[in-house]
């Protein structure tokens, strides 16, 4: 393996300064994505700044939101009682992801920043990858594609953002707090990721040296219900083929308000705003659920291996809408 310098600072400012000063430096948190990428030879930082000693662990429960330290592990967040009560779909998405061993290492901040699982991206012997090297092409489009995206992609790149928990976090309008060389700022998740069809080599709006320190997650108001449905071939330890995170506030038989996120389909975690608008203020109607799904997937770009995902995503959303709206009656 390639030699690199390893730092383990104790303070956020120190960590940010350390990375900002060296263009070949990078932060290291749980390492569940990064170490794989290093072993694959895809990612070759000269300096790793291990942030595990920074005081960024833990969950602060406020009346309207959670302040989640970026180094909080997936298991820790899933175990928080308020998450089970007020953000059920976040808990379900967490527990549907990876394995308990990985969830005990993987951090929430790192989860949002995970790189695509595309095997063409992760194999440096594959030359054509616009995400890795701009303007080199995309081997996946003509290759074996299945665990790839159909929304927010085009023929230049079909990389999937495979996170589960990012989907409900996006739906509930969480935001991240970032410390960088030029100070602190807040970025709503809706503005955090960059779609592959808007530039395959750029994955998010963070600059070099920017560090996520906290994720602020609004609690669903009392009376809302939420749930996460993940569809995959294997029963565990597999990324979603499609998934749906749905939160609803019902008024009798009517959907008073709703939030929908879709996973397994987008180059970024996908907020289904069209579907939300079509369903808000309507009565429970599976036909309309399907129409809302179809509207969301209307812009899909597919290749032969991913074509089934359009229909599967519609079905996944419909099923989860049925489940969530039934549960309130």
């Amino acid at each position: 393996m390639r030699a690199f310098v390893y730092d383990r600072p104790d303070a956020v400012d120190e960590a940010v300064a350390s990375v900002a000063a060296d263009p070949q430096a990078a932060f290291l948190a749980g390492g569940t994505t990064q170490l794989d990428l290093m072993k694959d030879g895809v990612w070759t930082p000269d300096r790793l700044v291990d942030i595990s000693r920074l005081p960024l662990r833990g969950i602060l429960v406020e009346s309207q939101q959670l302040k989640v330290g970026a180094l909080t592990t997936m298991e820790q967040l899933a175990a928080e009682p308020v998450v089970a009560q007020r953000l059920t779909f976040v808990r379900e998405a967490l527990l549907a992801g990876a394995t308990v061993q990985l969830r005990n290492m993987a951090t929430i901040g790192g989860n949002l920043l995970q790189r695509t699982r595309c095997r063409y991206f992760r194999d440096p012997t594959v030359a054509a990858c616009n995400r890795r090297s701009p303007d080199s092409g995309c081997a996946a489009v003509d290759g074996v594609a299945r665990m790839h995206a159909v929304l927010g992609v085009d023929e230049r790149c079909i990389a999937l953002h495979a996170s589960d928990v990012a989907v409900p976090l996006l739906a509930v309008e969480a935001s991240v707090l970032v410390s960088g060389p030029s100070g602190q700022r807040r970025i709503p998740l809706s503005e955090f990721w960059v779609r592959a069809d808007e530039g395959p080599s750029i994955e998010n709006v963070l600059g070099h040296g920017d560090l996520i320190t906290e994720i602020d997650v609004p609690l669903l108001p009392q009376g809302w219900r939420s749930g996460y449905l993940k569809v995959r071939d294997r029963a565990s330890y597999e990324f979603a083929l499609t998934s749906a995170a749905v939160a609803v506030q019902m008024d009798g038989d009517m959907i008073a308000d709703i939030r929908i996120g879709l996973g397994g389909v987008g180059s970024v975690p996908w907020r289904a705003r069209e579907a939300e608008e079509m369903l808000r203020g309507t009565h429970v109607d599976p036909v309309r659920f399907e129409q809302a799904g179809r509207a969301t997937m209307a812009s899909a770009f597919t290749v032969p291996g991913t074509a089934f995902k359009v229909d599967l995503a519609v079905r996944t959303l419909s099923r989860q809408l049925i489940t969530m709206t039934e549960a309130t009656r």
Binding site: M1, A139, R234, S236, L312, T316
Partner: protein
């Protein structure tokens, strides 16, 4: 065989814990990856990034300046090797680094040796190789079909007449994809030379085949090559062949005059140690209205690499399971620019059974007949239908009946989609299964010591199935000792030669060698009994060993302590060597039967989102004499998990343009995980097989056979959709 039937039953059959269990759970069992020798250096294999062509340039000069790098071997400087000898399943795959030819993507093209594996890995990453690349041949339709030496065509009766005579006919094409063996233990070795003596710690399933290969290819005496494999992290067949990595490590060690350690990476395990090759199969079945088969035709094409052929065996069981007068099997292979194929757990049978047992289910539906009833009507239980001679044993009907009873098959409503539970469609499917009899040669040595303990020695490997344990139990019974008084040592080619663990043949082969060895040991001990001994004049089979004494078999109270026999001649130990002595089958008038089984499966399918879960499995096996109930159950359980993987997940994908493995990691290649495995009820039926004294059949593979077809048939029952291509995935099940 003339040996008296051994008295087994005190320890044989009991579900005792693994004798090697404490070593394994405390981390003290030495696997090849644990071996460290003084002066040892580390080698990393570099693999090709094109699927066909020729290497035009490898510049290694820059690598030699990197920290720790000792050598870089390429086809330009690696030693020339002698041709590979014929060993198990033919010769070795292509000898590595003999020329610049590339026959598949991911082929070995260089070996980097450094002081640490990290340094070697980094240098391997930086190597620059230029290729004259060619378009790889990847389309089976564009290749030349050729016969497979181990899978000859067979024919009996007149299949066209059988087709014409049928009232009901079905014909369809079935496909199985490439599966990768993926033992959990990474394969690799440590090779060390002392002059012309080579010692290699490896992950082979067969120490003797590897010894012969290394001796021949490096031009040294077989007596000077020692292969050591005391423990194996699995294999599923990936350890059967004489893979190039072993030759690379041995060659580098000889050139450098140092021990060389070479461990493959998980991605390399998808490329360099074989796989279950893809098949396409055409099956035609004909039957009269009452469900009697009038013909079976089974044609299979299996994919091979350019230089190394698949084993095949896809169609070889087809003519033996069902009593049908008209059967034809045809098997071909096509050489493509694909990685080396090999045997993977239940090779051929797992693929062929998928086609035949799915076709039988289709025939049952065409006939309007219960699929179980169709099997019972046609299974050949008394005579082998190919030879007309009686089987040495055959419990397949019992497997079907017992399984159906335990599963509750009689409560099945045969109409597709008729059984529901809320939103879920339930499906019940079954399949019959057979696995060929295979009895390779093994030898063993049994030694008794003056202190009353005993040892068994053989070059056989315990692949993880429990060979150490069952041989210990057997020897304990044969010698009248407690298992704790028996020390079983395996996995060393300096011990008596043995067959590989593979082909489900070792337990039977080695157990019969041990029985023979004890008989010889008793004969040797009798030679120590003088004229005044109460045992004087008795033959080897007139005596038995009991509690450290040699006794009259018909009157155990007449006994002489072994210690006294030994001391009388100034001896401290005595050994008997034995080997498998197969009976003359023609004289015995029987056909050696393999293992049989029947699988019953319930699936639940959520048709809206295509979600399939296996809900329960009843797996019944005729394994002859079961040597250890606990370990035997574990074998069937593990094989059932493998069958679920074959049915639903496992699919090694190849890039259409380059021939590169497209999903060669554990993150991308799915195997069944615990959450996919439901309650599995494992039951054994049948009697000790009559063909050998130990009466056992191999059960390492039979448990996988039939699982996929039972699942596929259950999917049809649940949905009305016929599954003919594996794996069965979500996108095929949305309704």
């Amino acid at each position: 065989m003339t040996a008296t039937k051994p008295d087994l039953g005190t320890w044989v059959g009991k579900g005792i814990d693994r004798v090697d269990g404490p070593h394994k759970v405390t981390g003290t069992a030495p696997y090849a990856s644990d071996v460290t020798l003084p002066g040892m250096v580390h080698a990393v294999v570099v693999t090709s990034t094109v699927g066909a062509g020729t290497i035009t340039k490898i510049d290694t000069s820059a690598l030699l300046t990197l920290p720790g790098v000792r050598a870089v071997f390429t086809h330009e400087n690696f030693p020339r090797l002698n041709p590979s000898p014929d060993v198990l399943f033919g010769e070795a795959p292509t000898a590595p680094l003999q020329d610049g030819r590339i026959t598949f993507h991911g082929q070995e093209v260089a070996l980097v040796v450094a002081d640490t594996s990290q340094e070697a890995t980094e240098a391997a990453r930086l190597i620059e190789i230029t290729y004259a690349a060619e378009a790889p041949l990847l389309d089976p339709a564009a290749g030349q079909p050729e016969p497979l030496p181990l899978s000859p065509d067979t024919s009996r009766g007149d299949t066209e007449a059988g087709w014409a005579a049928a009232d009901v006919r079905i014909g369809a094409t079935y496909r199985t994809p490439e599966n990768t063996n993926n033992p959990l233990g990474l394969m690799g070795c440590v090779a060390a030379w002392d002059g012309d003596h080579l010692e290699i710690h490896d992950t082979t399933q067969g120490t003797i085949a590897l010894r012969k290969t290394l001796a021949a290819m490096f031009g040294v005496p077989e007596s000077g090559v020692r292969v050591r494999v005391p423990y194996l992290g699995g294999g599923f067949g990936a350890g059967l062949n004489q893979w190039p990595y072993k030759l690379l490590a041995a060659g580098a060690a000889r050139e450098l005059g140092r021990p060389v350690k070479l461990m493959l990476t998980r991605p390399q395990m998808f490329r360099l140690v074989g796989h279950r090759p893809d098949t396409e199969q055409q099956v035609r079945l004909g039957a009269t209205r009452d469900g009697t088969l009038t013909m079976i035709e089974h044609r299979a094409t299996v994919l091979s690499s350019i230089d190394f052929l698949a084993v095949g065996l896809i169609t070889s069981g087809t003519g033996h399971l069902y009593a049908c007068p008209n059967v034809a099997t045809v098997e071909r292979t096509v050489r493509l620019n694909r990685r080396y194929p090999t045997s993977m757990r239940a090779p051929g049978e797992a693929e062929g059974n998928w086609a035949i047992e799915t076709a039988m289910d289709e025939l049952a539906y065409e006939l309007g007949m219960d699929p179980l009833e169709l099997r019972l009507r046609n299974l050949a239980t008394d005579l082998d239908p190919a030879s007309g001679k009686p089987w040495s044993s055959n419990g397949v009907i019992e497997c079907c009946r017992v399984g159906a009873e335990l599963f509750g098959w009689s409560r099945r409503d045969p109409r597709p989609s008729s059984m529901r539970e809320g939103d879920l469609l339930l499906g019940w499917g079954m399949a019959a299964a057979g696995f060929f009899a295979y009895l390779p040669m093994s030898q063993a040595r049994v030694t008794v010591y003056a202190d009353g303990t005993a040892a068994v020695r053989s070059a056989a490997t315990d692949i993880g199935t429990g060979t150490y344990t069952v041989i210990t139990q057997l020897a304990a019974d044969l010698l009248g000792l407690h298992p704790q008084q028996v020390d079983c040592r395996l996995g060393d080619s300096d011990m008596p030669a043995s067959a590989q663990s593979g082909g489900s043949g070792l337990a039977s082969s080695l157990s019969n060698a041990v029985i023979d060895a004890v008989s010889h040991l008793q004969g040797e001990l009798l030679t120590l009994a003088g004229a005044d001994s109460p045992l004087h004049g008795l033959g080897p089979d007139d005596v038995v060993c009991r509690d450290g004494a040699l006794c009259r078999r018909d009157d155990p109270s007449v006994r002489v302590p072994i210690a006294d026999l030994l001391a009388g001649q100034g001896l401290v130990e005595m050994s008997g060597d034995g080997r498998l002595r197969p009976p003359d089958a023609a004289a015995a008038g029987m056909v050696h039967a393999g293992a049989y089984g029947a699988r019953f499966v319930e699936v639940a399918i959520d048709p809206m989102i295509g979600r399939l879960r296996v809900r329960r499995v009843v797996s019944v096996t005729d394994g002859g004499r079961i040597l250890n109930r606990k370990l035997a159950r574990s074998q069937i359980l593990g094989a059932t998990v493998g069958g679920i993987g074959q049915a639903l997940f496992e699919d090694t994908l190849t890039d259409p343009g380059t021939g590169r493995v497209a999903n060669g990691t554990f993150g991308d290649y799915l195997v069944a995980v615990s959450a996919d495995v439901p309650d599995v009820e494992v039951v054994f039926v049948g009697e000790p097989d009559r063909y050998t004294p130990s009466g056992t059949k191999g059960i390492g593979e039979i448990g996988l056979v039939g699982v996929a077809a039972a699942i596929g048939n259950a999917v049809h029952h649940a949905t009305g959709r016929r599954m003919r291509d594996l794996p069965i995935t979500v996108d095929q099940l949305m309704m």
